[in-house]
Symmetry: C2
Subunit: 195 residues, 2 copies
């Protein structure tokens, strides 16, 4: 019948995600998107509806790639202590090397949009739940194998660990990119597991 193929929608979504990630929803204009995505204004609106819907798709794409990668790493863990340490090292390294100070798209969106945008708040909450759940299971595994003490609740610990990461993601957007500060926070955080 007709022309079948489109541009690779996932590649466009990845670019959109990175634009929103670096500058937020409000500070990324339709013009920025046209220039940054490499598709025309008409294609943009034909394909994604509008800016808000594109942002939702970008946020979901972040969840499906970034968060999924983290969760898979957690689920595949054999060395439990090592994996948790690795997660915090990854956050630290990303924060210290990213010239754009992007932080975490979920944290950024929480601050910028959650209070006035239920749809976004829902996605962010689900993302948090996913990560805390997989962390909780990992900790439980560590407790059953004797790596961590049974005295603390795995759920409490997972909430605590993720809260520490949230804090680090804010720090990543500041201009205080001091490795010592990250190391201090990480080692204090992880010390809770060794009680």
């Amino acid at each position: 019948m007709a022309r079948t193929k489109e541009f690779d929608e996932n590649k466009i979504l990845e670019k959109a995600m990175n634009l929103f990630w670096a500058r937020g929803f409000n500070s990324t204009s339709a013009q920025d998107l046209v220039e940054g995505l490499g598709i025309s204004r008409s294609s943009l609106y034909d394909t994604f509806g509008n800016k808000h819907q594109l942002f939702i798709r970008s946020l979901e794409y972040y969840r499906e790639t970034m968060s999924r990668r983290l969760i898979e790493m957690i689920n595949a863990s054999t060395n439990i202590e090592g994996t948790i340490w690795q997660i915090f090292m990854k956050v630290t390294h990303e924060s210290l090397t990213d010239k754009l100070s992007k932080g975490c798209l979920m944290v950024n969106s929480t601050i910028e949009l959650s209070p006035h945008d239920t749809q976004i708040a829902t996605i962010v909450a689900a993302n948090t739940q996913d990560i805390e759940d997989s962390l909780r299971l990992l900790i439980k595994k560590g407790q059953q194998s004797g790596t961590f003490p049974n005295t603390l609740s795995a759920r409490s610990l997972s909430r605590f660990l993720y809260n520490s990461i949230r804090g680090l993601r804010v720090l990543a957007k500041s201009k205080q990119l001091n490795p010592e500060v990250f190391d201090d926070i990480v080692s204090m955080t992880l010390s809770v597991l060794k009680k």
Copy 2:
């Protein structure tokens, strides 16, 4: 000579601070300010220059009132453990009761503006430094009096405690206002002091 008095500039600043605090810089329009501050557009620009300068003044006002109040509470502390516990209870209570989900203006501004606005980043960094410094001195006092173990660095601890607060301030802007989550995070955080 002439008409001397103006409207109370501090009262205006307090209103501006609350508007920016609830909605951020970009989402608070000049029109919002005119309606929310109760002064005319002309007076606004005659008195504060422009929106950005008004935001800077609001951020400084936040520091001079909210952060100062916290620091004075820390400096005046006699019961060290109690004061730290009180700080976290205050953050929790504010987060759970604030219908506007304002969070913390410093954290909000870090996310929204710090990466692209040096002036804001500088104010936020100075604010962080002030709070971490006074926390550090409090912890040191606690170590000298035997309340806390000397094994941990007071500087590391202060950075860790403030990072936990940053995390909680993000959580406050989400739609997951579950007291249990706050309690878990707070008790895990404070457990580090009892090592």
